[in-house]
Symmetry: C2
Subunit: 196 residues, 2 copies
Amino acid sequence: MRTRDVNKESAIQEKAIEMIVKQGLDGFSMQKLAKAANVSPATLYIYYKDRDDLISQIASQISVRLMETSLKGLHPKMSFADGLELQWKNRMEFYLTHPLDVEFIEQIRYTPTYASIKDIVRQKFGDVLGKFVHNAINRGELQPLPFEVYWSIAFAPLYQLIKFHTQGYSPTNDCFRISDEMLNQTLNLVLKALKP
Amino acid sequence: MRTRDVNKESAIQEKAIEMIVKQGLDGFSMQKLAKAANVSPATLYIYYKDRDDLISQIASQISVRLMETSLKGLHPKMSFADGLELQWKNRMEFYLTHPLDVEFIEQIRYTPTYASIKDIVRQKFGDVLGKFVHNAINRGELQPLPFEVYWSIAFAPLYQLIKFHTQGYSPTNDCFRISDEMLNQTLNLVLKALKP
DNA sequence: ATTGTAAGTGAATGAACGTTCACTTATCTT
DNA sequence: AAGATAAGTGAACGTTCATTCACTTACAAT
């Protein structure tokens, strides 16, 4: 049996991400991808069932990697401030090393395709995160809040900063770059908001 | 000269939004839109230069309406807490009355198309918002912060909540609905974070 | 009532789309 | 060395795409 060419699969994924980030989901086609990845269109269908499957497989792989990175070193018994800082720094690191992957996910996140992916992520990582938050509340380091409220305060600001950084501008700034200082400043505001 | 049929244009816009929200940007085509809006494909090209123009015209109209609604009743001299609450409530009201419009914008926001739209919005509304924030800082009601930090704390949590509501679920909840109480709770956390 | 004009059309265009098929090629097992 | 098998291919399929064109229709101005 002929063996799979590993370079081929990663070339496909890399080019797909690149194309979708640069031209959007509607500017993306199987034939263009095949050409960009130096592969026959038919080869794509060895790796993926169809176009939808290609997009959602790539998206869920990235999502899982993002979550794994983001939770690296997190112990449920960590202090809340330390644990949240760790997650922020981990996410930021993932973004800095894989910016296209994050932009890709952001683009998928708001399409109907994303519905299937969230299940996988929640199933794999819901446990650890749940315990971390639960412990922090029990220790009195975190207000008891509906999970959605907690999440929207704890992580939405980080994603917004990353988005400004990604797009290179914000509502009042044409050439925005995130700085470590700014990240820490925002994190401290978030911690202040969530403290009992 | 024959007069334009106003119903026609709004039918086109309404169906376009509906289709893109339900099937995503790539499941959207001019011919399907024409059929859904009971119009000839050629008619679309009377109203819009091409497909891209159609999408970005609709998107920027919605963006402007959203900002107008969100700033309704805002005076730059308002207290910061009142002004921010007003903007949150206004935005939430816009979402409740035009949920599809907001989902449509969210979907465009992360595509390359959005770049052109942000200019229009900033140009039209940057002034009022800038003054409001400036006054609040001078009065000592708001920490002086980089605008991006301010924005990510002040509004990202609201958008995250709306997103949970829109999608009908959050990381730990399969059937999430936003409540007034939850909105107020989150707003208070945000105000707490931003207070000097 | 006639006419000028822009609104509106259905059918047609060629290009690009996702996908498949008959086929070749590389590698593992024997 | 031969055979088995999955990887990989280029050309082709029917479909759908965005867009255009020759044409009709409705209305305002005259």
